[in-house]
């Protein structure tokens, strides 16, 4: 039989149906479009050439590519990929290769199997797009792309002579729409598994906060309104001023640059019975491993690590929206004792630079006699002298940049102030470090979640104090208290604000209606992340627990069976149900029901007996008005005017029922 089934694809004169070919070309465009930014431009060029070539083949002007041309193209493409400077095994390299293969296949797409290969690659590219971006907009776009690709597949199986891509599109749209209920069931119930092996990663530069900060180099801190993460608090959220989202710890300083020191081992264990603030974070992809949490995480998912400097990291880079639950205890004491190694690490200054600040720090420490006193003195100096907060500070020298800032320019943003304070403390051997992360955020009134954006990025200082452990100090609060209390917008000077993009200022609450709309979109995106993008093993376990009580494979199997069966029944009912050809005569329906009932009672209608004669016979048996019943029934059955009379129809129904009951009684009586 196999040889018969394959007859379709192997015919010498097989032509991909024109309808399907057109849809295939369109679906290629649709599928490659969102990937264009991730692949080299020359690949797009190759694709355009191949597309043109195939069109010419279709028109009968050119032939298919000859063997040597194909070989040449493949070799050229491999060399091209090698020269494009991708990191080996990066996701971009893989995607480029895929798109290239996809394009080249176009010029030798002759038979049915080739067309199917192109279709399957299209589906694969749809999935690939989600590795780069998982927003609602992309998902909606790719759903439409799936309709187009599926339409191409439908076109492959329709009659070859007709050209009607629109009809194929409708069939495909219907198919996908009807597949959605089952998709939903699978999405909810299909067990989510931990990664099986390591994979090529997108090599795009990490976004957001960087692991190296050089405040002196920044002449104009760009204020991106890009989303950093969203957080949902279990209970009452804390005050804005207390929202210090700790992410990175900069323990090394050299040549004006703060950097993360060598990696540390994770802290051994979590607190057994955690108390504190519980919340869930939906972190946007950063392509880095660091995570953000409030001070101090005491309970978190087992797959996450808390390093010895109390920053939380993920085992692998965050490539798609990552969802994690944390409980933070604000009263937790970080590092009761400081090991000698840690002490050395957190007081280290690699070079004897910034002599004025060192001198100033020594003098200040000697004068105040305590760490707290010294910090307070620095804060006072910032408040009382002409220090100012700005996003466009003067550029500083590499060496002695902190001296230059603290004594001369006196203009800067958070890193300048935090850096100066950390340096001053370290220079008198007090353990101190700069911490980077986000401060504040805004609550979306629609869903109540906190939205933290890139412009909420912040840096502050942590100082180790005996008995108190690592303690947070924020010198920026001294220069711009509004920044901490009410967010960046409140702290901005007019010229800084003018430099903001329209969207950024709208997001900060300057746009009225626009702000409301943006908040609405944000709440949509949040729900999307909550229910779709962030639906991982942990979230699934929660949902299943709520749904099934106990999560066992058997219960999941049963739930899948029931859910899948129900959704399929729904579809089957929709597509297999055929409406009855014609509405039957109302009295005829009543009468045939009566006939069936009487047949069950053992008094069936004889063959050739008219309805009137039948009723007359039965009514005679029951000693009712046989003649009258016959006349009335016949009128109702055959006289359209009588049929239209609803009261008469009710009447005959009652009469027939009465006749039935009387005869039932009678036959029962006879039997006993």
């Amino acid at each position: 039989m196999a040889s018969l089934t394959d007859k379709q694809g192997t015919g010498v004169a097989y032509q991909i149906p024109r309808n399907s070919l057109a849809l295939l070309m369109v679906s290629q465009v649709v599928v490659i479009l969102p990937l264009i930014v991730h692949i080299s431009p020359w690949i797009v060029g190759v694709w355009a050439i191949c597309g043109y070539w195939r069109t010419q083949v279709y028109r009968g002007r050119w032939g298919y590519a000859a063997g040597w041309v194909k070989t040449l193209m493949v070799i050229g493409s491999i060399v091209g990929i090698a020269l494009s400077g991708y990191k080996s095994f990066s996701l971009e390299a893989a995607t480029s290769l895929l798109v290239l293969a996809f394009s080249l296949k176009l010029v030798e797409m002759k038979n049915r199997r080739d067309a199917y290969l192109v279709i399957y690659l299209s589906y694969f590219l749809i999935a690939t797009a989600f590795l780069f971006d998982q927003t609602i907009a992309v998902a909606a776009y790719e759903l439409l792309a799936a309709v187009v690709v599926t339409a191409a597949m439908v076109g492959m199986n329709q009659l070859q002579t007709r050209v009607r891509p629109v009809a194929s599109l409708w069939v495909a749209a219907g198919l996908i729409f009807q597949a959605l209920p089952l998709t939903l069931v699978l999405f909810l119930l299909f067990p989510r598994v931990a990664p099986l092996w390591s994979i090529p990663l997108p090599s795009s530069v990490s976004t957001g906060i960087s692991d190296r900060l050089t405040p002196g180099d920044v002449a104009n801190l760009s204020q991106s309104d890009e989303l950093a993460f969203r957080a949902v608090f279990d209970g009452e959220p804390p005050q804005q001023r207390d929202l210090y989202w700790r992410g990175l710890v900069y323990s090394e300083f050299a040549f004006g640059t703060w950097a993360i020191a060598e990696p540390l081992d994770p802290l051994p264990e979590q607190v057994d019975a955690p108390v504190g603030l519980s919340y869930e974070v939906f972190l946007e992809p950063t392509q880095s491993k660091w995570l953000f949490a409030l001070d101090t995480p005491v309970s978190y998912a087992a797959r996450l690590d808390l390093l010895a400097d109390y920053r939380m990291v993920s085992p692998e880079p965050v490539l798609s929206v990552m969802r994690y639950r944390v409980t933070s205890d604000t009263g937790y004491l970080m590092d009761h004792e400081l090991s000698p190694a840690m002490l050395a690490r957190e007081t280290q200054l690699w070079r004897d630079d910034n002599p004025r600040l060192r001198e100033y720090a020594r003098d200040l420490y000697a004068r105040t006699g305590s760490v707290e006193g010294m910090i307070e003195a620095m804060h006072r100096r910032i408040r009382e002298q002409d220090y100012s907060y700005t996003l466009s500070p003067p550029v500083l020298e590499r060496v002695n940049s902190i001296d230059q800032f603290w004594f001369d320019t006196r203009r800067g943003f958070c890193t300048h102030y935090a850096g100066a304070m950390t340096y001053a403390l370290r220079s008198v051997d007090i353990p101190a470090r700069m911490v980077g992360g986000y401060q504040g955020g805004e609550f979306n009134p629609a869903t109540g979640h906190l939205v933290v954006r890139q412009y909420d990025a912040h840096a502050w200082v942590e100082v180790w104090l005996p008995e108190r452990g690592w303690t947070r100090y924020d010198p920026t609060a001294a220069v711009a208290p509004a920044r901490i209390d009410r967010g960046l917008n409140a702290a901005l000077s007019n010229e800084d604000r003018a430099a903001l993009s329209f969207l950024a200022s709208a997001r900060m609450g300057e746009g009225g209606l626009v702000t409301g709309m943006l908040q609405f979109v944000d709440s949509l995106e949040h729900r999307w992340n909550l229910w779709v993008v962030g639906y991982d093993a942990a979230a699934q376990a929660d949902v299943l627990k709520g749904m099934l009580g106990k999560v066992t494979p058997a219960r999941i199997g049963i739930a899948m069976g029931i859910g899948g069966g129900a959704s399929l029944l729904l579809v089957a009912a929709a597509i297999l149900y055929r409406r009855r050809p014609q509405q039957r005569h109302p009295v005829e329906r009543v009468f045939s029901g009566f006939c069936r009932a009487m047949a069950r009672q053992g008094l069936p209608r004889q063959s050739g007996e008219t309805p009137g004669a039948y009723v007359q016979r039965l009514a005679g048996r029951a000693q009712l008005d046989a003649e009258g019943l016959r006349t009335r029934l016949q009128a109702l059955l055959y006289d359209p005017e009588a049929t239209a009379d609803r009261a008469a129809r009710r009447q005959i129904r009652r009469e027939l029922r009465k006749l039935r009951f009387m005869l039932a009684f009678r036959t029962a009586g006879n039997a006993s």
Binding site: Q8, Q158, L186, Y535
Partner: protein
């Protein structure tokens, strides 16, 4: 119940054939339903399954919910397709509309009628016998379609092409729904004609009648004269005789026709099949030259006659000679 014919045995094997006969009994008109439609993934369907597996692996390794989503959507689509492909065949009625007779070596034409119930149109259906070409059926605006199928006739008698394959890959080509229906199709195959150089050779000359057959309405030769009857052609009136007497007399003409031919099985040389072929050739030639002829077979005799109906009778007798007409 009719046993499976030869080609089917070759394809299915005896057992499966017997099972099919029980499962989908032969009939004049067969309506497709869940009891006689089979569905199985095609090779493309299995490849599609492979694609899904790769997507799920990717989703697991990238921990990407939306890649899971794509895989699930495609998987669900595959499942829904089962219903679609089933619906595309379900409810169709298939019957043989007409079978055209032909000669051995020719393509015998069968007209198969496919009716659909009210409701959705059907498309992408292929229909055909294993040894013939498949035809596309599309019943969209109309409610029935007639397809012409051709099967090569290899021997005389009844050509039973056996079970008819009805299949569809619609809508995605991932699944194939098919059935083998036996619509009791049979077409008559006449022996392959052998034409001889001289149609009126000794076989026919021996059967020349004693008297000469006269076509009284012919116009070749003068026969006699008789009294005028109204309606006789005026040019036949013998005017000279009319001048002599008052009698109106007309000349009568007649044509001589070759004597009626009787083609006799027993007088021909060769084996049975060769004889039948020769007789077929003779019958065709006689018909072409518009000469009456009769046929004499060992078991039956067809009196002389002329015309398409007569020829059909003769050819049918030749085709079925020695074969039970069932």
């Amino acid at each position: 119940m009719q046993a499976a014919t030869q080609p089917e045995r070759a394809i299915f094997g005896k057992r499966f054939s017997a099972w099919l006969d029980r499962r989908i009994p032969p009939g004049r008109r067969i309506t497709l339903s869940q009891s006689n439609i089979f569905i199985f993934p095609t090779r493309s369907g299995f490849t599609f399954g492979g694609l899904l597996a790769i997507l799920i692996l990717g989703a697991i390794n990238y921990q990407n919910s939306l890649v899971y989503g794509v895989a699930f959507l495609l998987g669900s689509m595959f499942v829904v397709t089962i219903l679609y492909t089933f619906r595309n065949l379900s409810g169709l009625s298939i019957e043989l509309a007409e079978a055209h007779a032909g000669f051995v070596g020719e393509d015998i034409e069968f007209e198969v009628r496919v009716d659909r119930p009210k409701g959705r149109g059907r498309e992408g259906i292929q229909i055909g016998w294993p040894e013939g070409f498949k035809q596309w059926v599309e019943i969209y605006e109309t409610e029935a379609d007639v397809v012409r199928l051709y099967v090569v006739a290899d021997k005389r008698g009844w050509l039973r092409p056996g079970r008819l394959l009805v299949e569809t890959y619609y809508p995605l080509g991932l699944l194939r729904a098919w059935t083998w229906v036996d619509i009791s199709a049979r077409g008559l195959v006449y022996p392959q004609p052998i034409f001889q150089d001289a149609p009126s050779n000794q076989a026919s000359s021996q059967h020349r009648d004693d008297g000469v057959l006269i076509d009284p309405l012919g116009s070749d030769d003068f026969v006699d004269i008789r009294e005028y009857v109204p309606g006789d052609p005026i040019k036949n009136i013998l005017w000279r005789s009319y001048a002599r007497s008052d009698e109106v007399v007309v000349k009568r003409y007649a044509s001589y026709v070759e004597p009626r031919l009787i083609f006799d099985f027993d007088t021909l040389a060769g084996g049975t099949e060769e004889k039948l072929s020769r007789l077929t050739g003779l019958a065709l030639q006689a018909t072409r030259s518009e000469r009456e002829f009769g046929l004499r077979l060992p078991n039956l005799e067809i009196p002389p006659g002329l015309g398409q109906v007569h020829l059909d009778n003769v050819l049918r007798a030749l085709a079925l000679y020695g074969i039970a007409d069932r």
